[in-house]
Symmetry: C2
Subunit: 355 residues, 2 copies
C-alpha cells in the first residue's frame, strides 16, 4: 500500500516528519512517496498543485497532508495561491466527505477559552460536504451587474448549488457515522432563506427514512453557531454543506482550545482519503521545531483506520498519544504550568516510545 | 415624529410593551402606531408583511420591532413564513446597515459559557450588510443541474453577489463607526475561495484610503469564527456581508451569555431604521411574562439615538438599565443565585423607576 506524503508549507514539513516516524515504527510497512504542494509546489514547479503531485495523489491509496499557505504568496493571483492545492485535490479526487472531530481531551480541558463544565468530555463530529456548494459552483466571476438596484456596476458573483445526488451521498456518510456513535444527527442549513438549503433539508429528510435508528434534527446555521458556544455537548454528529462546514468546524475545533490535537479526514466514495491536521500552516512558528505534531500523528491514525484498513494500528497510535498526554508532555500551544514542555521532535519521540 | 410599532410573534408583544412604557415616560412624546407582522400578519391579513404594515413602516420615522416566528408556521410555504416579514422590511426600506453590538455587561459576565477573563469587558460591534449577498441574489430556485458531474439531477441554487457601490456604502458606515470607537476595523470575507469576497475585499481596501485614522485588517470567515471563540476582545468593529454577518453576529452575541440584553439597529442611508432585540421570538416562553425586555428597551434607546436624534434620551434609558442591573434585578435568562428575579413587566417597571 502506498501513501502520498504532501508536507506543504510552514510547519507542514516538521509535523509530517513526526507522523512518518510513527508510521515507520509500526509492524506494517508502507511505501511512501513525497511531493511538493501549496507554496512548495509553486516554488518547485510553478503551480500549487503540480501535475506530478496530483498524479501521485491519484495513484496512492491514501494521502498524508501537512498544511499549505504562507503570507509570502498573498500577492499571487488566486489560481496560484497555496490554498488552491487543497481545493484541487478535493475536487479532482472527489473527496466529498470531510470528517472533523472536535474532541476535548480530559488532560487539556483547561486549554479551552470556555468554562470546563461546558467543554469537558466534548466529543462531536462534523461531517462537511467538500465537493459542492458555493466553493465550486459555476458560473462565477466578475461582471457588470445584469440587473437589480446597482445594474451596470462592477460586481463579483458566485453560484451556490447542491444537487439531490450530492446531498444524498453525504447524507448516507453522515447517517452511518451517527449510527456508530450517539445516533443523533443535526443537519445544519439556512433553509429559511436559501433555495440550496431547502433542497438540502428535503433530501436529508428523505434519506433519514433509511436510518430509523438515527434521530435527525435540523438547525439554522446562525443558531448552530450560537448553540456551539452555549452548549456544544448537546451535539453528536453535525452534517452540513461546504461553506457552513468550513465555518462551524473551525469554530467547534477552537472550542476545545487544543486545535493542535485535532485530525481530519477527507474521503471519496471508496474510502480513499486525504488526512490532514485541522490547524493550518502557522508560518509564524515554522522552522522553530515547536509545532505540535499530534494532530498530524492522529491524522495518520485516521488514515490507517479509514483508508488502509488497519484499525488496530490506528488504535495503537491513539493510545500512545493518550499515554503521552497522561505523562504530561506538552508542546507550547497546549502547555500549562508544571507540564513537561517539549518541541516537535521530542513529542514525536515520546509517541514512539509509548508505542 | 412617528414610530411604527411591530410586535410580531411569540414574546414580541410582551417585550415591545415594556419598551413602549419606557418611551412614554420620556419628556418627548412620540406618535406610535401598531401593526401586525410575521405570524401575526399572516393571521390578520394572510401575509407576514401585509401591505398596510409595509405602508406604515415606510411612512414612519422609525420602526420598533419585536420578533417573528413560531413553529406553527413551519409547514407554510416559504413566501408566507414569518421570517419573510423581516427580509421584506430590510429590502423594501433599503435597510442595508445592521449594527449588532456584542457587549458583556460587568454584572453579567458570569452568564457567559466562556471564562470570565476571556469575555469580561467585551465590547465589539458587528456591522452586517443587509440588502445583498446570497440572501437576495437572483437567479435562484430549483432546476435540473445544467452542467457538472450531476448534470440533469434536481438541484437547488442561489446567487451570491455584491456590487462595488453596495460594498462601498456599507464600508463607509463601518469605517465611520470604527472612527467613533477603537479605530480598528476587521473586514471578514472568504476571498481565498469566493469571487464575491474578492470584490468585497478590494473595495474595502479602496475605501480605507478615505479613513487613514482607522486600521483596516482582513480575516477569513472561518478564522473569524475561531478568533471570536479564542480571543473575542481582540476585535473592535467587524464588517461583513449578509450571510457571514448572520452567523458571526449570533455567535458573538452568544459569547456574552446574555443575548437577552443585546439590541440591534438596521439603518437606511438616511438613518431611518428598524430596531429589534438580537434574540428571537422564543415561542416556548411566550405569554408567560418571563421574557427579558431589556434588549428591546435598549433597542428603543438605539432608535432614539440613530433615527430620532434624541441622544440624551437614549443615554437616560441606557443608564436606567445599568442601574437596574446594579440593583440586582434579573429575568430568568440572566438570573444568578441571590439576584432579584423578576418577570417581564416588573423589569420594565424597574427601568421606569430608575429613569
Ligand atoms: C484553505 C481553504 C480553502 C480551506 C477551505 O475553505 O475549505 C480551509 O479553510 C479548510 O477548511 O480546509
Ligand atoms: C430570520 C432570518 C431570516 C434572519 C436572517 O437570517 O437574517 C435572522 O436570522 C436575523 O439574523 O435577523
Amino acid at each position: 500500500m502506498k501513501i502520498a506524503v504532501l508536507p506543504g508549507d510552514g510547519i507542514g514539513k516538521e509535523i509530517v516528519k513526526e507522523a512518518i516516524k510513527v508510521l515507520n515504527a509500526l509492524d506494517e510497512k508502507f511505501e511512501m512517496e513525497e511531493a511538493p504542494v501549496g507554496g512548495a509546489g509553486y516554488e518547485a514547479k510553478g503551480h500549487p498543485l503540480p501535475d506530478s503531485t496530483l498524479a501521485l495523489a491519484k495513484e496512492a491509496d491514501a494521502i498524508l497532508f501537512g498544511a499549505v499557505g504562507d503570507w509570502k504568496y498573498d500577492s499571487l493571483e488566486r489560481a496560484l495561491r497555496p490554498e488552491q492545492a487543497i481545493l484541487g485535490l478535493r475536487k479532482h479526487l472527489q473527496l466529498f466527505a470531510n470528517f472533523r472531530p472536535a474532541i476535548c481531551y480530559p488532560q487539556l480541558t483547561g486549554a479551552s477559552s470556555l468554562k470546563p463544565e461546558i467543554v469537558s468530555g466534548l466529543d462531536i463530529l462534523i461531517v462537511r460536504e467538500l465537493n459542492g456548494d458555493v466553493y465550486f459552483g459555476t458560473p462565477r466571476g466578475n461582471r457588470k451587474a445584469p440587473d437589480g438596484p446597482f445594474e451596470g456596476a462592477r460586481e463579483g458573483f458566485d453560484t451556490m448549488r447542491y444537487s439531490e445526488p450530492e446531498v444524498q451521498r453525504i447524507a448516507h456518510v453522515a447517517f452511518q457515522a451517527a449510527q456508530k456513535r450517539g445516533k443523533r444527527l443535526t443537519s445544519v442549513d439556512k433553509a429559511n432563506v436559501l433555495e440550496t438549503s431547502q433542497l438540502w433539508k428535503d433530501v436529508m429528510i428523505d434519506v433519514a427514512k433509511q436510518y430509523p435508528d438515527v434521530e435527525l434534527s435540523h438547525m439554522y446555521v446562525d443558531n448552530a453557531a450560537m448553540q456551539l458556544v452555549k452548549a456544544p455537548k448537546s451535539f453528536d454528529v453535525i452534517v452540513t454543506g461546504n461553506l457552513f462546514g468550513d465555518i462551524l468546524s473551525d469554530q467547534a475545533a477552537m472550542l476545545t482550545g487544543s486545535i493542535g490535537m485535532l485530525p481530519s479526514a477527507s474521503l471519496d466514495k471508496n474510502n480513499k482519503g486525504l488526512y490532514e491536521p485541522s490547524h493550518g500552516s502557522a508560518p509564524d512558528i515554522a522552522g522553530k521545531g515547536i509545532a505540535n505534531p499530534l494532530a498530524t500523528i492522529l491524522s495518520a491514525a485516521m488514515m490507517l483506520r479509514y483508508s488502509l484498513n488497519k484499525a488496530e494500528q490506528a488504535e495503537r497510535i491513539e493510545k500512545a498519544v493518550q499515554k503521552v498526554l497522561e505523562a504530561g508532555y506538552r508542546t507550547g500551544d497546549i502547555a500549562t504550568p508544571g507540564c513537561r514542555q517539549v518541541g516537535t521532535a521530542e513529542m514525536g519521540d515520546a509517541v514512539l516510545a509509548a508505542l
